[in-house]
């Protein structure tokens, strides 16, 4: 007998029929990815946790409205995006949300274990829109079209934000990359 893992659309169909366990399984599959995405967006573990909880509650309540179960991930991240920015708007002034990235001043002589923190710092210096584009593409693996749906903007805007972010990150991380290539890290 060939083992076949239960696919998300199967679980969604069951959850729609009131199977609570099916939805619980969906939550356990996606919670870590959603949490990490939100953590990079809101930069606070407790806020990310609270918003994650809201996201899965809202998704459960809106499950009957999901047109195409095959596109669950994009739909879920769209809810996460909306909840995160709604929370950020409540907590921060509008000007901070549209802030420009600050100049790079990362320490090029970092220990390898600190490289992850350096990346985190570099991501934190991007504007929220640019950072989110990187999160959705590099860490969540969405296609440009899917990102456009999640962010509710044209593909050209998605590409513009992402490409600018990559240029900035390249400039910010270049000193460390060179050090790493020289074996200093």
């Amino acid at each position: 007998m060939i083992f076949r893992e239960v696919e998300d659309p199967d679980l969604i169909a069951k959850a729609r029929r009131g199977d609570v366990e099916a939805y619980n399984l969906l939550v356990s599959r996606w919670e870590k990815r959603v949490f990490n995405y939100l953590l990079r967006l809101v930069s606070n573990r407790e806020d990310a946790m609270d918003v994650s909880q809201d996201v899965f509650l809202k998704a459960y309540q809106s499950l009957p409205k999901l047109d195409d179960p095959a596109r669950f991930s994009g739909w879920l991240f769209r809810i996460a995006h909306n909840e995160a920015f709604s929370m950020l708007r409540r907590k921060r002034p509008e000007t901070e949300l549209a802030g420009e990235p600050r100049p790079a001043d990362l320490n090029p002589r970092l220990l390898p274990m600190e490289l992850s923190l350096a990346v985190e710092t570099a991501l934190g210096r991007l504007s929220p829109d640019q950072r989110e584009a990187v999160l959705l593409k590099v860490y969540q693996g969405f296609k440009f079209e899917e990102m456009a749906e999640i962010l509710e903007c044209p593909v050209s805007t998605v590409k513009s934000r992402l490409y600018t972010a990559l240029d900035l990150l390249k400039a910010m991380l270049a000193p460390m990359q060179k050090a790493a290539l020289r074996g200093e890290l």
Partner: protein
């Protein structure tokens, strides 16, 4: 730094970011690869982009401080207004309201004397019916006694 091959037609230069992000179509991807094999300048550009992506991939994934509350947990229970608008609750509430209205609108108290009179009337009706039944039985027994007495006399006389 520029690529001499694309200097004459800059608009035809491959989108290297889309290339490393695997967003080019099959044909465009093949053309880009073919060019990369021959152009050191573009090769370096792509290598830098890949290095940036590799560095980004060192960002460690954070563990969650706690699990998401499941649907079966209290946090997923419907709020009060969702309960109010649920069909089952609404039907129950409708029945309860009907009982309440009925109880409120009907006469609040019946006079005690009226109750006693009704009870006395019912009791006397039942008693009268019982008396009639006993009387009928008594008369029936008398008739049968007379019949038995006649039969006995006839038997004695016939001897």
């Amino acid at each position: 730094m520029s690529c001499s091959f694309f200097d004459s037609e800059p608009e035809s230069k491959p989108d290297w970011k889309a290339y490393v992000l695997r967003e080019l179509g099959q044909d465009a991807h093949r053309q880009a690869e073919a060019h990369l094999a021959t152009c050191s300048i573009c090769h370096e550009e792509v290598a830098t982009l890949r290095l940036t992506l590799d560095t980004l991939s060192t960002l460690r994934e954070e563990e969650m401080p706690r699990r998401i509350a499941f649907v079966s947990d209290k946090v997923f229970e419907p709020r009060w207004w969702q309960r109010v608008f649920s069909p089952t609750f609404a039907a129950g509430a409708l029945v309860a309201a009907a009982i309440l209205i009925h109880g409120t609108l009907r006469p609040s108290q019946i006079p005690q004397a009226q109750v006693e009179a009704a009870v006395n009337k019912a009791v006397s009706e039942v008693e009268a019916r019982h008396v009639q039944e006993i009387q009928a039985m008594y008369e029936l027994l008398n008739v049968r006694d007379k019949q038995v007495a006649n039969m006995y006399r006839n038997v004695v006389l016939s001897r």
